[in-house]
């Protein structure tokens, strides 16, 4: 059982976004980087599938700048067996299709049984790479899974459907799944894991060029919200609030 988990390094979710000098990307000067939270679910799921099977290999793959080796080392410390860094100093400028194209080429060589991604990266919020990757690899894809079990070359997965329903899918492997919060609680790397990670292979190679297909014309901060008002300081303010919601805002 060979499992690939795709990860991306993203600005920490408590980052205050500033527009960079080019006007089209963020100023990364003060940014603290983390593994995309949804990708952590993918890494954890990969480790659990391997553990349940009793054997196998977990390979983490990222497309990113040289510094992204740090996030890969964290994945190795969590328990992944090896890591592959597809180096591109301008990785953050790639659109989803350009990203998926590079990942697909590398993953195809690995011949995985299972490919796991986060449901979206919390920087660009496109939510496309998993589905595009599946298309390029010719594999089925179920998005935003919250349950996963693998047996006999098949995966049973669950995802939230419309209107509070739960969809249960049975998927023939190899397949791509994108991971949603609720799938698992990612483990922390312990000291033993961190020591072991130092001996694990971390391969690096240049990602090579793929032309961007989506042009980013400009990045801007959202307009500030108009000043609000404090309607009151106790339950007596409720009547005034209801009046405002009905007659001023006209939303109830």
């Amino acid at each position: 059982m060979k499992i690939v988990a795709c990860v991306k390094r993203v600005p920490s979710t408590d980052t205050r976004i500033k527009v960079g000098a080019d006007g089209a990307s963020i100023d990364t000067a003060q940014v603290e980087w983390i593994i995309n939270p949804y990708d952590e679910f993918a890494v954890e799921a990969a480790l659990r599938v391997k553990e349940a099977a009793g054997s196998g290999e977990v390979v983490v793959v990222t497309l990113g700048p040289a510094d992204a080796a740090r996030e890969l080392k964290t994945c190795l410390a969590m328990g992944a067996d090896r890591a592959l860094l597809l180096k591109d100093a301008e990785a953050s400028r790639r659109d989803a299709l350009a990203t998926a194209t590079v990942l697909a080429a590398a993953i195809r060589e690995l011949k995985p049984d299972l490919v796991l991604c986060g449901k979206q990266a919390v920087d660009n919020d496109q939510g496309q790479v998993g589905l595009l990757l599946a298309h390029l690899l010719g594999m089925p894809c179920v998005t935003e899974i919250v349950k996963l079990s693998v047996a006999d070359g098949k995966a049973a997965v669950e995802r939230a459907g419309d209107e509070g329903t739960t969809e249960r899918h049975e998927v023939t492997l190899p397949a791509v799944f994108t991971c949603q919060k609720g799938l698992n609680e990612p483990r922390y790397a312990n000291l033993k894991g961190i020591m072991a990670a130092k001996k694990k292979p971390l391969d690096e190679r240049d990602a090579g060029p793929v032309p961007a297909r989506l042009n980013v014309a400009g990045l801007e901060l959202p307009a500030a919200r108009p000043d609000g008002r404090i309607v009151g300081t106790d339950a007596a303010a409720v009547d005034e609030l209801v009046r405002l919601l009905r007659h001023e805002a006209k939303v109830i």
Partner: protein, 324 residues
């Protein structure tokens, strides 16, 4: 005619969701600005019954597609087949549970770039330009396709449905058979105990935070939501504590929402939460801490005890609804 705006519309047994009409409206307005017409494509049982409503909202033509809507691969392939015949300038759809799953599949089949979860789309110098939030709404970007076709998913409630009558003439199209069965079988759809309003599509959301002290106190939130016909949301702290299901989390690692009215109860307003709900049209904050960051984005605030305020608010809303 090439260069039209193709709108993939979701329907259920002939009924259109508000998000579908919003996407249709976006498509009709974009088509007018782009000097072309909007064409709706709709699939599944009852598809043909939607043509009148889609015509009212600006569809010059409505293509009823005979496709297997239980198989997303086949469905996407059928829509891509229609797009190949039409060579549209853009394919639009709503960024719903279904749309965010179908959109990238269609984009991949058409080898076209896609802009997800957009809040606006316009025609500029012959190109289609979409405006979309990034970093959960902490910033916005303007994006366009480098060459030709762009797939665009429209954020629910980012714009309102508007009527602009067009012919809505119905055409029928047989689906191009999907190339291969890819081995994803939908075995079962399990209904929830009660029909839930989808958070990202809700017009009103009532969210609760850690200040509610325990999961049992969400009964109060549910009651207010019930009175308003609203969906229930939650802060990350509450979800991580296991008080509420993950699907209810609003914020950067949860859902980004844009309702008409967002009521934040006992939520302090962490930066990740504010990013996820700041595009709500109106925000009400109820919190006992006057310094809570949530008040900085709220239109109306009550500084006080949620346990006293919320039941009174629920009663007032019920009284209002009873009056009609």
């Amino acid at each position: 005619m090439a260069g039209e705006i193709l709108v993939l519309v979701e329907q259920m047994r002939g009924a259109l969701k508000s998000t579908a009409l919003q996407a249709m409206t976006a498509g009709a307005q974009l088509a007018a600005a782009h000097g072309t017409t909007a064409v709706a494509v709709v699939a599944g049982e009852g598809a043909e019954q939607t043509s009148a409503a889609l015509g009212e909202h600006g569809a010059a033509r409505v293509i009823a597609l005979d496709a297997d809507t239980t198989d997303r691969t086949a469905w996407a392939a059928a829509v891509a087949g229609v797009a190949r015949k039409l060579s549209p300038a853009a394919v639009l759809l709503a960024h719903t549970t279904l749309g965010k799953d179908l959109g990238p599949r269609i984009a991949a089949l058409l080898d076209a770039p896609m802009a997800s979860d957009c809040v606006a789309v316009r025609s500029e110098g012959g190109a289609i330009v979409a405006r979309r939030p990034v970093f959960a709404g902490k910033a916005l970007v303007h994006v366009s396709g480098a060459n030709g076709l762009l797939v665009v998913s429209i954020r629910p409630n980012a714009l309102s449905a508007q009527k602009s009558p067009a012919a809505g003439s119905l055409e029928r199209e047989a689906a191009t058979p999907p190339s291969t069965g890819l081995g994803d079988v939908l075995k079962e759809v399990i209904a929830s105990a009660q029909k839930k309003i989808e958070l990202t599509e809700a017009a009103i959301i009532v969210s609760g935070g850690r200040g509610l002290k325990g999961p049992e106190n969400f009964a109060m939130i549910e009651e207010l939501a019930g009175a308003l016909g609203a969906a229930v949301g939650a802060s990350r702290a509450v979800v991580d504590a296991g008080w509420r299901p993950h699907g209810e989390q609003v914020g950067q690692t949860g859902k980004t929402v844009a309702p008409q009215l967002y009521i934040a109860v006992a939520i302090s307003g962490a930066i990740q939460h504010l990013a996820g709900m700041r595009t709500a049209k109106y925000i009400v904050a109820i919190n006992k801490d006057p310094e809570a960051p949530i008040f900085k984005v709220a239109d109306y605030g009550i500084v006080g005890d949620a346990f006293e305020i919320v039941p009174r608010l629920t009663a007032a809303v019920k009284a209002l609804k009873a009056q009609g």
